[in-house]
Amino acid sequence: MAAAPRPVLVALGSEARALRLIQAGFRLAQERSVPWIAVHVELGGVDLAEDGEQAEVWLQEAQRLGAEIRIVQAPTLAQGLSEAVRSSRAQALLIGRSRDRWPWARVGHSTANELLRRGLDARIEVLDDRRGSPGSDPARTGFGAMVGTLAVLAACTGVAWLVPREGNISLVLPVYLAAVTFIAHHWSQGLAVLASVMSALLYSFLLETPRFSQVDAHWPNLLFFLAMLFAAQAVVGLLHRLRQQAREVERREVHTASLYLLGRALGRGRTPEEVATTAAEHLRRVFKVEAHLLFPEGSSWRALPSPGPLLDLPPPEALLPRLDAGERLGDPLEPLPLGRAHCLSLLGTDRSEGVLLVQPRESSAPPPETWELLKAFAVQIALALERLRWLEEARKAQLENETERMRSTLLGAIGHDLRTPLAAIHGAAGSLLLPGDLPPATQRDLLTMIQDESERLAHLLGNLLDLTRLESGALQVQKEWQPLEEVVGSALGRLERRQGPLPVHVDLPESLPLVPLDAALMEQVLVNLLTNAQRHAPGKDIELRAWGEPGWVHLEVADRGPGIPAPFLDRIFDKFFRLPGAGEGGVGMGLAICRAIVLAHGGSVHAEHRPGGGSRFRVALPLDGTAPAPPEGSP
């Protein structure tokens, strides 16, 4: 038991500074590697319900940082705390100094003093968080203030001298009241106390008649005078505190509003760039700093919004651990000073989303009381980035799902179409190998079948590969300016070499411009469209025509087949879609390939009813960029 380390005790109230106490306690416990306890004293019947709830929040935060939680009930704070110190054998007690006390209460009667008097076996540390809070500029109690005080008092005495008084205190008092009020308001309450005493003395020595007499003759007046001055001073002090509170409330309102505005603006960001731009804008407006979001990229930083910070930053592998060190000190968001700039970790729910770098535009850093707001900004930005990351991950997951679904559809659809020709080839080869002679005509039949079916297989596989490569983006469109005629020619040539003359009527106007296209891919589009037309209207005429309009070239393949039912006009370009009752034939890849290729060209393709029966497929190709100059001497 004796070997057990003595813990650090932190007294938490309901005030906002409890957060600092928690961090300080955590840090101290870490330094000394001892456990720490957060204690809250419930003063029977005095606490407000809201205060209790707030204290609960702080206790939870302390618990998050590894503190043991203890709630003590006692008539006074000092009593409760000393009990807690004794029972836990704490080596140190951290308490905050209350701002909300009367000035005289600070002298001798504070909880800290009372605890000291109780002679506890623990060091008592008072965390004074008033430093840097508004309205407590230490310069105001300096030498200048002292001189000012004396000057004001001298002036008052001068004025009072001139006032006809004849033993009437009521005429002199207002002058001194005004002076003390002025001093308390302008410099400090300590000086005002001093000024009150001095005023009383001045009054009784210089102004009270008979002058320069003993003080005891004027006791009643002097006491009255002094009391009035102290009262005035107290009122000023009260006003001063009220004004500070009002200012604080105002500041918080501004903070809340700016946080709200930031949150709303960040919510609209769709890319890290947008988030960074928004964040930088708001930070510049609110804090007068240049802000950048930094994302580690290998061994360097990517800064958004660009242009990047001019500062020489340590590489991520050096900076990130130092930022993570913030976590060990209790506040993961604690800004890390870096020359004139500061770095804040952008902590999301489960990981760091990046680093916020702020550089003050003026020489001075933002005042300390804005750090809390800056941290709140950092949290908002981190959440916005995290939201984007999650959206992206969700999108990817959906895509993967889609791909998976597609894959199973593909297996189902292709399985059958691959197996049929394979079965035929296998069967035919088997019969040819059987012992015994087949009539030559039969042999030839079987061999022809093997050839046809293997061609069908090759075609199927080719389509499948094309589609996969088009969709994965592995296939790059290499556009070159060329006459459409050539592509039409090679497509028709390819088809007719395979299956003899086709009833295709080609109508290409002489005036067609050169079109930027990938010849091999567009040939595929035409071959697929013509094959499709031929399949649905065997033996019937097919029209292939093209025409130009400014910026575009249109191509049409029209057939006199049965046509496409209206509900399917859009869907026929979907992968593996086959018209119901279309029977054997394609696998629903040809048109999907067409669409993928045309889209990759920046064009569009659609199907529609052809007046007079049948359907027509229209491809629009953009004439983007400027056509190259025609060679000299060409028509």
Binding site: Q478, E486, G489
Partner: protein
């Protein structure tokens, strides 16, 4: 030379099983190798009249084999390549390959390509300056072109393009080969010139320019002139 010797460098056994008997059956002598190293060794020791070279070999890139072959041999090389490898085909052709066959190919196509490749490259301007077929008659000596007996008037560039194709004797010519032969060095970027002139040639010499029978487009690769088109 009565029985030309063909060396097959192809790693797929099933393709070799198809190629060897098909070519032997056509009175060719056939050698086959499954790796680049073996193929190059055989090429040196036997000096084949034609090499069928697969681009996807296990031990070395087919393109490297082609380059090495070309350092000492001018004999025709026909590339066997998978479909959709236009860029590889063009590279191989520009590196000195004579022609290519895209897998899968049929026996008839294979034999036709080999026949074309085995014709002597310079036959056109040495043995017979006049080539004809499909109603077209081209006299390289007289610089005269006739279609169905009627003279056709070609511009200078059109004629040079036609001549470049004729001299290839049915083998494919890549865009860059034609551009540098017709427009001279530095013309490589202007593929569209070539296309426009090809369109003009077709208008003058093809019955239906949208169904070219002689001036065949090999998409993304180049062109070939086929004057024997009537057969198929």
């Amino acid at each position: 030379m009565n029985q030309p010797l063909i060396l097959i460098i192809e790693d797929e056994e099933s393709l070799r099983r198809f190629l060897v008997p098909t070519l032997s059956g056509q009175r060719y002598q056939v050698l086959s190798a499954a790796t680049a190293a073996e193929g190059l060794a055989m090429a040196r020791s036997h000096n084949p009249d034609l090499v069928l070279l697969d681009l996807g070999l296990p031990d070395r890139d087919g393109m490297a084999v082609l380059k090495e072959l070309r350092t000492w041999s001018r004999k025709p090389v026909v590339i066997l390549s998978a479909r959709n490898q236009e860029r590889d085909k063009v590279r191989a052709l520009d590196q000195g390959a004579d022609d290519y066959l895209a897998k899968p190919f049929g026996a008839a196509e294979l034999l036709a390509r080999i026949r074309v490749a085995l014709r002597h490259i310079l036959q056109a301007d040495l043995a017979d300056p006049v080539v004809h077929g499909g109603g077209i008659r081209i006299d390289l000596e007289q610089r005269e072109v006739r279609l169905e007996g009627r003279p056709v008037k070609l511009t200078g560039l059109e004629y040079r393009l036609l001549e470049a194709l004729v001299r290839r004797n049915g083998k494919v010519a890549t865009h860059s080969q034609l551009l540098s032969e017709v427009w001279g060095p530095g013309g490589e970027g202007n593929t569209h010139y070539l296309r426009i002139y090809m369109a003009m040639l077709r208008k003058k010499l093809e019955a239906d320019p949208t169904r070219p029978r002689h001036f065949i487009t090999e998409p993304s690769v180049g062109y070939r002139l086929n004057l024997d088109a009537r057969e198929d």
